[in-house]
Structure formats: C-alpha cells, structure tokens
Symmetry: D2
Subunit: 364 residues, 4 copies
C-alpha cells in the first residue's frame, strides 16, 4: 500500500512525481523555536542536485526549495513545515519507450501489477527525483540535533573500493563522487565515464557515520536503532542492503573478535566508558552507546541501460527494451546526501522519542 | 523509546523478560474465520526451542503456548489473539556477574544509559528468549497467507558457507543447524562444538525465501517491501545486516549483469511474465514481482563468552568480565525460525494492506 | 505535540497557516484507478468558501485547488495526492492587536504556553482557514466510497433549532445557513445579522447523516466507528461536543426506550434486517449496522468578538482586547462542509480497513 | 478492523473476552524508574469490580491483577508492562439465548455482519468486562503524571441529575453510584432498584475533571486534546456522546457568554494567567490552558433487558428476545473508573508527547 510518511514523532510525508509540476515534503512534529530558512536547506539540496557533473544525469533542475508553512519570523513554530520544489526540466517525450514495455529491474511491471496503471513519465513516483524531498526534510532534522554530525561518502563503485588508509574527510567534497580517497576518485573517473559512454550503469556502496550521538537513543527490539536505520535506508530507491557496524563481516567472526571492550572514560568515573573497538557500529541492544553510528548501504546499478534486455509488453508479448532518456550512470553517487538525510531524520526522531520516555523530571 | 509493536494492519505486540514468569504476544487485526489452535503454533515453537541439541543453550524450556483470547470454537474471531508462554527454567543466580559489570557487545551498558536501570537476569528484555513470542505470532501470520511458503536456513556459520550445488530443502530439518547442505552440516558440528567447548561464540548468516507471493504486495517508497523486511529482520536480537536479493553483491555489478530479463509467462499473454533471473530478490520498486522473495540476514556472534574482556562497572571502574550462564554458541542457528516468523508477519501484513488499497470491488 | 495527519490506511496530512503563501493536504493510500480532477474537488470547496454571503467572513478567497501529484491521465495512481490552495486575500495588518494580548477563548495563550511563540497573523495554524484542506481531502474520500452519501446541515444556531417536521433536504443548499428548514433559515437571517452587526458570535450544532454505509465497517473497541467519528469531528476547530445517534439524550432513556428493534429485511431472509428505530445512530458495538450513520457536532461561538474582554499580555499584564479583523459571526455554518469531509474521510478509511481484515478470498 | 491499541507514545493494547480464561493489557512506552507493584493497580480495579452492590452485575470476579513483565525490583524498566486478570466466574450456559437471536442495540448483529462469526458468550470482546484492562492500564498512567488528579463521578442517571450546589467530592466514594450529591444518591437507590427489578436498564452521564494539568499539553488540530479525549471516551463500550467544557451548551451561547476572561496570575507577571471562567473545559485551540480539564460522557442504557424486543435470528427469521444472564442495570455507574482511566492514559501520553517536541534543551 502507498505509504509515504516516515518517523514516529518527528514525521515527514513526501509527494510528487518526476514529471509532475512539483515535488515536496511536509515535516511534522518539529520542535518550535529553531532558526530555519531556505538557506538552511538549499546547500544540502545543491549537493544532491543533478547535472552538476558529467557523472550524474544531465537533467537540469535548479531544485530551489520554498518553505510554505511552519516558520514565522525565521523560527519554526511547531506546526507542519511544508517544503516545495518545482520540477523545471521535464522532457516527457523521452519516455514513450517506457510506456511500451516494462524495463526489467525497474518498478514498471510491479507498479502495473499492483495498481493496474502507472505514471510512466520518468518513472513517476519511483524516480530518484523523489529523494530531493528527503534531502530537504533531512536538513530540518539536522537542526533538531545540532550536536550530531552526519557524514556519508561513497565507499565503492562497481566493486572498486576506497582505501581507508587514505581516508580524508575533506576530500569527500572535492570530487564528484563524494569519495574520501583521492586515488580511488581518480580511478572512478575512468570507471564511471566508461559506464556512461557505454550506456551502462554501476552499483555502489555508501557508508555513513554519525558522531555526537549520546548513549541511550533507540529501543531494545522492534524499533531497534539498527532497525530504524535499516528501514530508512532500505526505503531509498535502488537500495538492496544495509549493514550496521561490521554487518555481514561480523557474521564471520567469533565473539572474542567481535567484542568492543570498554575502559573508563577519559573524564573519569562519572563519564561514559571509552570503547576500544566499534564492531557494533555504535549500537548495542538496539540503543546507541555513545560511539559513532556506522552503517553501509548497497545501491544496485540502475536498470536504465542502453543495452537491449528481453522483456514483455503490458499486453504480455515478448520484446526487448533499451532505456534512453537521461539517467545517472551510478545512482549511488547522489545517494550520499540522501543517506545522510535519512540517517539525520531517524536520529532526530529517536532523540525526541528518548526525551519523551526518559526525559528529565518534572514531567511538564 | 520502548516500542514493542510491529505491523501496520496485522499488528503484534510482545512483552516479557527472560526471567519473569512468562512471555507473550498479542496479535491484532487477524482476519476472522481462520482455523487456529495451539497445535498450529506449537510445531514452530518446537523448532526454536532451546535445549534440543548440544549446539544451543542448555536452558530447558517446554515453550508450551496457550491461546488466551481471539479464538472461538476453533476459529479466529477477528479480535486480538493473546499468546502466552510460561518461563519455566530460570536460574537467576547465574547472573550476579552480569549485574556487577557491563558485558561488552551486549545491551547492558546501553540499557543503563537509556533507562537508568536494567533487569540483568538473563538479559531481561534483550534476551533471545523474546524471540519465542515472535515465532508464535508468526505462526498465526502463516495462516493468513496459506499460499505462501516461508523457508529459512543457515547459510554460513563463522564464515563457513554452504555449497548451493548441494542445496537440499529436506536436509534443513535433518540436522541441528537448519543447514541445507549435509556436507557443511557435518563440518559445522566440529566448528560449533569447538566454539562451545571454548566458551566462545560464532556469527551466522541466515537466508530466507518466500514463494507463492503474488506480484503487487508492498509499497513504492517508505514502506518498500525491502524496507519492511529489513526493519523486521534487523529488529531481531543480534542482527546487524540485511540484504534483499543480491544485496551488497549487486553494488559490485553493472546494470547489464544485474538485469532480471522477462519473457512471456508459460500460461500465455494473460499470465504474469517469466523472469530469467532474480537479482532483485523478488522485489522491484518496493513491490513484489511474483518471483520468490529472497533475503539474507547477518547475526553477529553473541557477546556472551567465557574469555574475559575488559569492561567497566556501573560505577565506571575498570574491570573485566567472562560470561558464564547458559548461552547459545551460535545464536544465528535458532534465528532461522525467528527470521521465518518475521518474514511471514511482514508478508501477511502487506497482503492485507494490498487488499485494503487495491482490493476488488464493490469498493471501486 | 503537532500532529497533522489523520487516518489509518487512507491517511491525509494538512499544512499551512492563515497568512502564509498557501495551505494544502497530502492524501496517501487512495485506491488507484479512480477518476479524479480538480473539478471533483472544487464544488466542495466552493460550498465552504468565505465571502459568499454576509453571514460569513468577508475575506475573499477564490480557494482554487491544484492537484500536484498522484493523478495521471485523469486517474489516481495509488501514490500520494498533493492538493494545494493559494492564500490570496491576507491582510496581516489587521492582527497587530492579536500580537499584543491573548484573545480569551482563542488558541493564543495556549500556543505560547506550548511552543513559546506563535504565528499571530489570522490565528496562524489555528485559523478556520485550515479546514479548506480538509474539505479538499474529503472530496477525494467521497470517490473511494461512491455508494455512500454524506450530508450535513446546521441543526441549531445560538440555541434556535430547526423543526424536523419541516426537514427538506433540497432546502439545505438554498439558503446561506445550510438549513433544512426554510422557516428556521428565515429566523436565522435576523439572528446572525444581529450578531454580526454587534460584533458578536454564535454557537451552532451541525448534524450529519451518512447513508449507504453497509453493515460491518468499524471496530469493536478502541477504534469504534463512534470513536473514529468523534476524533475526526472533535479535531475540527471550535468543536466541543460530538454525539452519535441519540447521544446525550440516550443517557436519559431506559433500555426499552433506547432499543432499535429488528425485523426481517424486505428482500427476505438472505437480506440484512430492517431496523424499526435508530437510536444508535447506525453503529452498534462500534460497527456499522447498515442503518444511516447519524451524528451531531457542537461548535462553540468563536472568541473573536468586538466586545472588549479582560485578558493579559504575553508579559502577563492585565489588559482587555476586542477582536477586529474579518471573522465568521457563526463559524458553525461553514462547519457543514468540514464535518461532511471528516465523516467521508473516516468512512473511506474504515471501508479500506474492513476490506483489509475481512475482504474476500483468495486471501482466506 | 480490529484495533485494540491506544496511545501515541505511551501505548496500551488490550485483549480478552468475557468468557475466556483471562483478560489483560500490555502498556508500552512507560518511563523507567517509576515505583510500581500490583498494589498500585488493585485499588482502581476494586472500584470497578462487579458484584460489590446490588446496583451492578452479580457476576463475582476478584479481578486480581498480576504484573508479568516490565518491572524489576519494584521499578518500571521502560519495557512493556504486561497486566493479566483471570476470569473466574464465567457461566456460559446463560448465553444460549444470545446465540439464537441478535439482541437489538447490542453488538451481536454488527459482529456477525463484520466477521461472519462471533463469540456470543457474555458478549465476548464487546463485554464491559474488557474495561477492567483499561482501568489497570490507567493505574500505570497515573504514575506517569503524579501531579495530575483525575476524578470522575456520575452526573445523571436516567435523566435525573445531581445538584451541583450539593457537590461533595468525598461523597463520591461513599455511595454505590459514585454520586457527589448525597440527595441524588438517595433518589438513585430507588431509581436503579426499580430498573433492576423490572429487568430494565438506565443510561447515565459521567463527568470527569483533571486538575494539575499544566498549560501546553495537546496539539492544535488533528490530535487536539479535545479529540484525543473524545476518542478515548467514545471508545468505551456503550458511550454515545462526549462533551469538553460546556460542550453542546456552548453551541447555544454567544461569544460574550462563552468567553473565559483572564487576569494576571496571583503569583505575578511571571506566572500563568488566572481564568475567570472555564467554558472551554481547560482546552483552547486543542491545547491545555492550565485550568481543570472538564468533560462529560454519555452512556446509553444497555440493551440487555428482560422485556422482549422484536429481532431476527442469524438466519434472518423474525423472533423476539429477552436478555437474562447477569447484567448491570446502569452500566454508566461502573463507567466512572473507566473514564478516569482513559483520561489518565490520554494525559500521560500527551505529557510525554509534549516533552518530546517541546522539552528542555539540550536534546539528549
């Protein structure tokens, strides 16, 4: 069933199709009194914006966000914040081919099977364009938890992985791949260029780290912080895997190798402990430990490729399809700001939930 | 925040600690008229039951389930189904050590940081014992979608993986590891025995396949079927990773290699298409395609090990801890029926949701 | 906490303030394939539109709705439907007085106490202007349950009640009061005119009837159909009471007087029963009986009056306030289309929920 | 659809039928560290317990509550609190008549229409017995907001209303009617006795006041505090009306008559204002004002009467039915502790929600 809201007390709802007049998000439950203007949101959208390098789709969207409600005299009022982004550069004529046959690996057939009809222009609701709404909402979430820094990067493209010995945070913003390793970034230029020229596509792994999260956010079981993050990231288009901390690698370890030993914190006994490892990715028993929250997200290669693939028409007849139009050769690259946004939204929601249940007395 | 309910229209809520008098689940929203008795639930609980081989915890729990409500004359009435399982074999004296210091990698420190106190007996709420409630609820979910078969197995223990060329579904129930490969099962006997004798623990990967799911279940974005399954499985104790279909392997592929081509279905044009591959794990655009739903779940090794690990006391002083008590050397093994239960619960919920939005007339 | 979504599977979220650039609603979970255009929504908005007679606020708002998403080639796609209405006739200068002191009976003080700040222009989010979003969303809900007719009217203004012996459904649309009794309508002209000229305001009772609801919608307890309707209507600005069926009058009756006897339905034994009375308002045990759903809603007189009332300033100093600006002398009148919308939204949601749990096979 | 959970962050789920082995509630989201034992709950259950006077049903139920989880060493742990009450005095043989034909005004026909079957023993899930679970959950909620006092009483039985000039809070606990007016209580003895002997039943109005609620709890619109309370109380069996403050009476007033003027609080400018009236029932714009929260709830007379009423059989044939068994002549009387419980649950939930969104900095 269509379900376009996310969050428990800090909630957001997105709407909009790739080729409609606009897309947007409504953020509800935001604390009042936070300074908020379009300028707090626009920089994050600009990071995600298409057409900024030859390694992303050539669709040109200014992605200017407007705040339509929930802010008065520069401060959030505690009422819903409506964010709207106009669609500018639609070219629906590109998509007649998509109407004719199902693109394998894309949502086309599944949408028709579910709804009996679909908006085939640019993938409609299933387009990665929707993620702009998430980035806008995520910018609001960041303001709710100003002490938390959420930082993502591309960890691998098409199986080619960065070297963590060369990890340089500043480098992430210096190349078009959000790559922390300048040597890998140079390699990826060739890799992605080749895919783009061949009309092919590449998968990617995005890693994300959130620092400044105190111990105590999350829940023991059904809304384990791991589970909230997994749902948030797996809900992004093209994502097919999520790991917290060591993830699948931990499944190959022994308990001794996976332990995160503790010693007293540097500030003394009243302080939280210092951890000597972080296999758990900053979450134990579903609850944050005060260590950095670490996760990795797998983006599949998009199915929009020029090589013809066998498929069927809506009438069920055999055919093949090659996807022209304007597409990202590696959709995972622009996934970086989207993963950051979703992680920020989960953490801000959990911060408020933790305050609800475990906030300071007196209760009022 | 404590959040112990799961599901959107078919919802269940669990309660209970490892060493309290009982544990249980309340299943709400179940369709009326389904034949249901304890006999429909007990076999699944028996699969998960501890103490059945030397490879699981030696705690002896009969795990007899009682249905306290929601069934009349052998049929579900549509009202909430209360399921209760008594705790029989608690030995709280085993856990004084756990009260004295935080077990690294376990929920101990995080619970105290969040709640300011914790029930340290057997891990309290964070004990894998809670998963019995999930298995009981999952047995009800299976009845909601009788055409769907949900089947899980252990894919790897401590990095030692099954050989799919020897995959034998019947073998899964013949060994104490839910292992589909008899050769791997034989190897794991030595592997797990060694870990058990050393007071160590091992991680595992559990794979799950659901067949009989029609095309059309799920949602395009925030409740993508991938995301619902990820949240469900990542909410299980000790799980740190979830993959749908090829998961992280897809991130290393090109679009051509990852394509799931289609040809007309065998029954002709009116039938759904036949897929020539299933990299997507049976889900495209968040919606089921009619192919088998495939996922993999990473269980970390439990942190309950005999080797002393550096840690701190609640007062913040340095110490070390070795966890005695009765523990699973590989908690992933008993994760198999739990993963099945959670997948069944998600699918049954999605089946009802799909009927809500897209069901047959007269509504539309 | 700010909570601007309503509904369980057919959900809508509204946003916007009286004096912001626009207001709107996002409707999620709508079944696909329904014919929908602005022309299906606009007539309902026109009924609620201000400035159409001297008995409502003189604010002039065209209230043109635009559909920004969720519709393709004239049909709903099953994805979220974004509805936007521009604010045109704001006059913020009217509201400086409201910033200076709290209007007793209005949300002013409570907002400040909760949020620490408020958008005082036209009441901000607490303005009755928000109800246009509900009416727009309700128009979509009507399409989900085309066999149901939801019809409301004003039952009383300032304590002057209609005579049901003169009830004429067609009359409701013939006078500016949605009054089914032409004689009462004539009286109200004088009544409301007098209040308007005196700068006073009047309370009202709105009655609503939904016909065509089949037996079986609703839930036994916490989401009793009575409770869903009560929450929906009590969530409208200025509403302070809701009755289902005989409501408070039933509390004065004996069981014999309150009985709704049944006899076999006219179509024979296979048909539902015929009821000989409807004290229950079409709902028994929280579930619809097939009779008309009947409810009554109490609107208080707005606190926006010209007579000075004692109050305090945000700084806590004594003062008095008289509310100028443009206001409805009887906000209950324009409550009629709003109550209809909320009832339609509840019923459509319940229709989908009923289909989810109790729908036809093959699920069961 | 079956929906047996209530609340947003402090949530509870109830289960159980009148004639099953037990009933119960699971309370989730409760703050940790609260002192809680059965002794905190039992007194409230004892107030609701049947068989304590001749004016309530003669079913004898000890209603002993057991806490099965969520408490450790006398304190809440923050995990779900499972509360269980055994059913002791079932006499299913009394109910064969109920299986034979639908009791008009009862849930019988509606349940069959919805679910296709029903547990006819004692009304099954629709029995007022379920309200014991609410009272138990409500006792936990009271501990969350210790500064709030929730106090209800019977305001009228069968149309005979108390005289507020004789209102005596202490009197409420001195008579079997929860009546604050000793003169009315004396009258009601005759009134209810007559109904009981005649096998009839009477409706009632229950009033409730919550003092100690600070300004700021609630939400502006869809979860207006008025709406939350209305949903909570309308979800109780047999309730057909809810009013906040003056409710329907306010609909007959002018704005001047309905105003709640303010003057500076007694403690000076930094204090909240003093209100000179409370027509609004302590809630303005959906948010508490710091005044007492006041509401009234209408209970219909139960349909379980000895006078035969025309009805139909499940096969659709004409018949009549007289309800024997053991029933409350005035179910509203025992509604008093239930209304209190639901109001406490709403207020505790809103207290936590308010802390979530508007709690003090820093956020952690």
């Amino acid at each position: 069933m269509s379900w376009n809201s996310f969050g428990r007390v800090l909630r957001f709802t997105t709407w909009g199709e790739s080729h409609g007049p606009a897309i947007g998000a409504v953020v509800d439950g935001c604390p009042p009194g936070l300074a908020l203007s379009e300028d707090d949101i626009q920089p994050w959208l600009d990071r995600r914006r298409p057409g900024t390098s030859r390694f992303t789709t050539q669709r040109r969207e200014p992605d200017r966000v407007r705040i339509l409600s929930g802010v008065f005299e520069g401060r959030t009022t505690g009422t819903p914040i409506s964010l709207l982004i106009d669609n500018v550069d639609q070219r629906s004529k590109d998509y007649t081919e998509v109407a004719r046959a199902y693109r394998p690996g894309h949502a086309d057939y599944a949408y028709d099977a579910k709804y009996g009809l679909r908006d085939h222009r640019g993938g409609g609701r299933s387009s990665a364009r929707e993620t702009a709404s998430r980035v806008a909402a995520g910018a609001v979430a960041r303001l709710v938890i100003p002490a938390v820094r959420v930082r993502a990067w591309v960890e691998a493209i098409g199986g080619d992985t960065v070297d963590h010995a060369r990890f340089d945070d500043a480098e992430i913003d210096r190349n078009p791949f959000f790559c922390p390793d300048p040597v890998a970034a140079a390699r990826w230029e060739g890799l992605v260029d080749a895919a783009r020229k061949a009309g092919s596509s590449l998968g990617a792994v995005v890693a994300c780290e959130a620092t400044g999260v105190p111990a105590g956010w999350g829940a023991p079981l059904y809304a384990k912080l791991d589970a909230e993050l997994a749902a948030a990231c797996m809900g992004i288009n093209a994502v097919k895997g999520v790991e917290i901390g060591d993830g699948f690698a931990a499944a190959a370890l022994s308990g001794e190798a996976n332990a995160d030993p503790m010693r007293p914190g540097d500030a003394g006994a009243g302080d939280g402990p210092t951890f000597l490892a972080n296999h758990a990715g900053g979450i134990a028993g579903g609850i944050s430990t005060g260590q950095p929250i670490c996760l990795r997200v797998a983006f599949k290669p998009t199915s929009s490729i020029l090589t013809p693939v066998a498929t069927v028409t809506p009438a069920g007849e055999a055919t093949s399809i090659a996807t022209r139009g304007r597409h990202d050769p590696c959709v995972g690259i622009r996934g970086v700001p989207v993963v950051e946004a979703m992680v920020a939204l989960v953490l801000a929601d959990q911060a408020l939930l933790h305050r609800a249940q475990c906030g300071p007395p007196p209760l009022r």
